[in-house]
Amino acid sequence: MDVGTTKMKPTGGRAQEVVETVGLRMRYGTKDVLGGIDVQVHQGEVLVVLGPNGAGKTTIIEILEGFRKRSAGDVTVLGVDPDHADERWRARVGVVLQSWRDHGKWRVRELLDHFSRFYTSYGKPYDADELVSLVGLTDQAHTQVSKLSGGQRRRLDVAIGLIGKPDLLFLDEPTVGFDPQVRQEFHDLVRGLDTTVVLTTHDLAEAEKLADRILILVGGQIVANGTAAELAAQVSSKASVRFSKDGEFYVEDATTFVRELFERYGTRIADLEVHRPRLEDVYLAMVRDFEEAA
């Protein structure tokens, strides 16, 4: 090979995505659960997959985790197709699935210590005590897992997901059934992580709070993709204007309308209100549209 004339590939230009799917499709019988999905997850970001129940969130996550075989499309996670991934890859991926109640007879620290042993041949896993305190379970270190509260149990789940210091952490609906206090603690925990995270939720407030980027999934299709601010900007074109003219009330669309309004009527305009629809309204409208179509 003539090294002298071979151009180096511009690897520095665009860092390799942690997750990349092209045309990811999942079909059960004749029903498309995922209809050709393109997803990128960038290094170090928290991507939140937001969608109503049955949107296909868990299916995507399970395909990316290597627990479910896709029907079609290309998928790479940490540079590897999860369908053909080995244990070395497995050691780099942390998984927190929905509502587990396993290992009830184990004690918290004992369980973390046990699982950490599996990672010793792949890298340097967390020390069990360190992890116990990281997720705030120091007081429960010797408690039986079945005796933990829902929130404590979930934090243990996250601890187990983190144990191998993964390059990528999956969290599937991590806060279902949490009371607000526990939810807050959990959000703080997730925001404190310095790893790439893919998290699913059907709670928009949670998505806005945690996400670097939000991907809205409805009916197996991505209907929106961007930061919370970008998504809000996308929908703000639909801002509505509310005013009264000569005591009569009007509601109109668009922003330029306001300028024209004043040019035409000047001081006769009163009670002017401009409503930017909140992301929540738009999200709920999307979900409603989908449910009506179904």
Binding site: E87, W100, R101, K105, W106, F118, T120, G161
Partner: protein, 277 residues
């Protein structure tokens, strides 16, 4: 890497054994049949094995203990595989590198340990209740080892094929029926020969025979088939079951583990909830 997982599996086995020994349900399951068996045979201890003056009660002790190996070992392993699938324990193992290997190692080790204890503890009690037991330690050791090697893979196969614990009741019933024709409560030679043949197909009979040879005076071999303890045949048949088990178990275990995902756990949980309602 495999060594690391196996070592973690051994640790898991130790912890699960300790959990089994401190769990009331587990102890009840392990001791239920020996206790019932001993109570019944204690009342029959005055009867003698036909053609001898040996207590029929004492003669039944090894057979009752062989049940511990089958129930605590084989069916117990199958049951834990099923419940671990229902509650997500197996999926958890899947999410960890070499986790399934460590998980299975742990389950097999702890089930083997509990089965052995399920033989030894009742045996210690039996020594007080039933006169005439004569323990050949070496025979006892190899019979237990060969027996466990034969039945544990079968337990793994059962646990992989069935999706709910109720199905295990069927296997339990089948083994109870086999027990009746396996010479546990009465010498097998007293049964019609077709029943003897049926009994000799299954591991229960050979486990019982092996344990009788380990725990009874040699003279009692006279009432067995061929008037012998037939050690060679015992190793042969149990060995054959072991081969079948070791060929089948990896295939069905892999198939079962591959299928496991969050949604299948959720579906299993829903079914389990419906059952309890």
């Amino acid at each position: 890497m495999t060594t690391v997982a196996l070592r973690a599996g051994l640790q898991r086995g130790r912890i699960e054994t300790r959990q089994g020994l401190t769990n009331a349900t587990e102890l009840w399951n392990a001791l239920f049949f020996p206790v019932i068996g001993f109570v019944v045979m204690f009342f029959l201890r005055g009867n003698t094995v036909p053609g001898t003056d040996f207590s029929l009660g004492t003669q039944a002790v090894p057979g009752i203990l062989s049940l511990s190996v089958v129930f605590t070992g084989m069916i117990g392993l199958g049951g834990t595989l099923i419940t671990d699938r229902e509650d997500g324990g197996l999926l958890r193992a899947k999410a960890i590198p070499q986790g399934v290997l460590g998980y299975l190692t742990g389950r097999v080790v702890s089930r083997a340990a509990l089965a052995v204890l399920g033989v030894l503890v009742p045996l210690a009690v039996a020594a007080f209740l039933f006169p005439g037991l004569s323990v050949h330690v070496l025979t006892l050791v190899w019979v237990l080892v060969v027996g466990l090697v034969a039945v544990l893979p079968l337990g793994a196969v059962i646990g992989s094929l069935f999706r709910n614990v109720q199905a295990l009741g069927l296997i339990t019933l089948l083994n109870m029926a086999l027990l009746a024709i396996s010479g546990v409560f009465y010498p097998v030679t007293a049964l019609p020969s077709w029943m003897q043949w049926v009994a000799q197909v299954f591991p229960v009979y050979w486990l019982g025979l092996g344990l009788r040879s380990a725990l009874l005076p040699d003279g009692l071999a006279a009432v067995e088939i061929g008037a012998s303890w037939r050690h060679l045949e015992t190793v042969g048949v149990l060995g054959a079951w072991a081969v079948v088990g070791f060929l089948l178990a990896p295939v069905v275990l892999r198939r079962m583990a591959l299928r496991e995902s969050g949604s299948t756990v959720a579906a299993a949980r829903e079914k389990a909830m419906q059952r309890t309602m």
